[in-house]
C-alpha cells in the first residue's frame, strides 16, 4: 500500500480533474436539466458513505471479537470518513432538491435514514473523544449497531412510498450518463481508499506516540 499511495493519489487527482469535463459532456436529464448534474457527485458520495459505514462496522466487529488494535484504528478512520461523506451527501442533496422539488428538505424515509446514520457515526466519534479510557470498545459496539441499521436505511426506500428516486434508477440510466456516473463512483471510491489508509496511518502513529510516552514514564 505504501508504494502505491503516491501513484494512486495522482490517479485520483487526475480522475477528479477529468470528472467535470465528463459530467459536462453527459446528456441533460429531460425533466430537471442542469441541476440533475449534481447527481454525479451526490450519488457516489452516498455510496461511499454507506461503504464506509460498513467498513467501520466490520472493523469494529473484528476489534470487539478478536481484539486487534489495527482493526480499531481502521474503524476510527472509517467512522470519520463516514461523517465527512455524510456531510457531502446531506449538503449536495438539498442543493439539488431545492431546484428539483422546490424545497430544501423533506422528511421522507431515505433522506431521514441517511441523516440518522450520519448521526450515529457522529455519536461514535463523540464517544471515542469524550468517553474516557476504554471507549474504543464501546464505540466499536455502537458501530456494529450502526452497521446493522444500514440495511434498514437502504431498504426503507424500496418498501415504503417515498419522494426520493427509487434505488432502481441507477441500473436504468441512459447510456450517455452511465459512463460519467461510474467514472465518478470509481474516483470517489479511490479517494476513499486513499483517505482511509492515510487516516488509519495517522491513528497508528498516534498509537506509537502513546507507547513512547508510556515507556518514558517507566
Amino acid at each position: 500500500m505504501r508504494r502505491l499511495f503516491l501513484p494512486l493519489t495522482i490517479v485520483a487527482a487526475g480522475m477528479f480533474m477529468c470528472a467535470p469535463f465528463l459530467i459536462d459532456g453527459a446528456p441533460y436529464e429531460s425533466t430537471m436539466g442542469l441541476v440533475q448534474k449534481i447527481f454525479y457527485f451526490h450519488v457516489p458520495s452516498a455510496m461511499t458513505m454507506f461503504v464506509s459505514a460498513i467498513v467501520c462496522g466490520v472493523a469494529s466487529a473484528v476489534y470487539l471479537f478478536k481484539g486487534r488494535p489495527a482493526a480499531d484504528r481502521l474503524a476510527a478512520a472509517a467512522a470519520e470518513l463516514t461523517s465527512v461523506f455524510g456531510i457531502i451527501v446531506l449538503v449536495t442533496g438539498p442543493l439539488w432538491a431545492r431546484k428539483a422539488w422546490g424545497v430544501w428538505w423533506v422528511w421522507d424515509e431515505r433522506i431521514t435514514s441517511t441523516f440518522v446514520l450520519w448521526l450515529i457515526f457522529n455519536a461514535y466519534l463523540l464517544l471515542r473523544k469524550y468517553g474516557g479510557p476504554g471507549s474504543e470498545r464501546l464505540a466499536a459496539g455502537l458501530a456494529v449497531f450502526g452497521m446493522a441499521n444500514v440495511p434498514f436505511v437502504y431498504w426503507s426506500v424500496n418498501v415504503w412510498r417515498t419522494l426520493h428516486p427509487k434505488t432502481t434508477v441507477v441500473p436504468t440510466l441512459q447510456p450517455g450518463m452511465r459512463g460519467p456516473f461510474w467514472f465518478c463512483v470509481t474516483a470517489f471510491l479511490l479517494f476513499y481508499v486513499l483517505a482511509l489508509s492515510a487516516r488509519a496511518h495517522l491513528e497508528a502513529r498516534r498509537a506509537e506516540l502513546e507507547t513512547l510516552y508510556l515507556d518514558i514514564e517507566e
Binding site: 470487539l64 431521514t112 469524550y130 468517553g131 464501546l138 455502537l142 456494529v144
Partner: protein, 226 residues
C-alpha cells in the same frame, strides 16, 4: 445455574430493590407525565389539542422517560459496585443482559399503563379502538428501545460523560423504532383505521427487535469485559 434461573434471579433482585424504595418508578412516572404535559402545552392550538400529535407525544414520552430510567437503574448498579459482582458471578452473561432488560421492560410497562390513557384523555385520541394492536405496537416498540438502551447503559457504566452519552448514542440508533411506533399508532388513530398499515409497522418493529436483541446478546460479553 441455567439461563432462565439467572434471568429470574436478576429480575427478582431488581424488582425487590425497587419495591423497597420505589425511587425509579415514581420519578420516571412523574417525568413521563410532566413530559406529556409540556408537550400538551406546546402543541395545543387555540385551546384545542392537536390530535395528530398524540402518537408522537406518546412515543417521545416513552423514549425520554425510558432513557432516564435506564440511566438511573445502572447508576444504582454502579454506585453499589453490583454490576462488577454480577459480571464476576459464574453465570451466563447473556442471561444477565436479558434479566436487566426484563426489569427495564417491567418498569416501562408500568409507566405506559399510566401514560397511554393520559395521552388518550388529554388529546381526545381514540387509542383504545384497537387495544390488542396498540398493546402489540407498544410492546414491540418498547422492547426495541429497551433492548438497545439496556446494552448501551450497561456498557457506559464505566465511561466518562455517561449521562450525556447515553442519549447521544441511544436516540439515533432507536429512531427507526420511534418512527415505526409513531406511524403504527397514527395508523390506528385515523378516522378509518388503517389496520394493514399498523400491522406492517408492527412486523417491522418485531423484525427490529429480533435483530437488535440478537446483536445485543452477541456483543454484551465483549463490551462488558474490561
Amino acid at each position: 445455574m441455567n439461563f432462565v434461573q439467572t434471568v429470574w434471579l436478576v429480575v427478582r433482585k431488581d424488582v425487590l430493590v425497587e419495591a423497597r424504595s420505589r425511587e425509579i418508578v415514581y420519578t420516571t412516572l412523574f417525568f413521563a407525565v410532566a413530559c406529556v404535559l409540556v408537550f400538551a402545552f406546546g402543541f395545543v392550538n387555540e385551546g384545542r389539542p392537536v390530535t395528530d400529535a398524540a402518537p408522537g407525544i406518546l412515543w417521545i414520552a416513552i423514549a425520554f422517560s425510558g432513557t432516564l430510567a435506564l440511566g438511573r437503574a445502572f447508576e444504582r448498579e454502579r454506585q453499589n459496585e453490583t454490576l462488577r459482582a454480577l459480571m464476576i458471578a459464574p453465570v451466563d452473561r447473556p442471561a444477565l443482559y436479558v434479566g436487566k432488560l426484563a426489569g427495564i421492560l417491567l418498569l416501562l410497562t408500568v409507566v405506559e399503563v399510566i401514560v397511554v390513557p393520559l395521552v388518550a384523555l388529554l388529546f381526545h385520541a381514540p387509542l383504545f379502538s384497537r387495544p390488542a394492536l396498540l398493546a402489540a405496537l407498544l410492546a414491540a416498540g418498547t422492547t426495541g428501545f429497551a433492548a438497545v438502551g439496556t446494552l448501551f447503559a450497561a456498557m457506559l457504566v464505566r465511561a466518562r460523560s455517561r449521562d450525556v452519552l447515553l442519549p447521544v448514542l441511544l436516540y439515533p440508533i432507536t429512531i427507526p423504532v420511534i418512527i415505526a411506533g409513531v406511524r403504527g399508532t397514527a395508523a390506528l388513530l385515523q378516522a378509518d383505521v388503517d389496520v394493514p398499515m399498523a400491522r406492517a409497522w408492527l412486523s417491522m418493529l418485531v423484525l427490529f427487535d429480533v435483530v437488535f436483541v440478537t446483536l445485543a446478546l452477541w456483543t454484551f460479553e465483549p463490551l462488558m469485559t474490561e
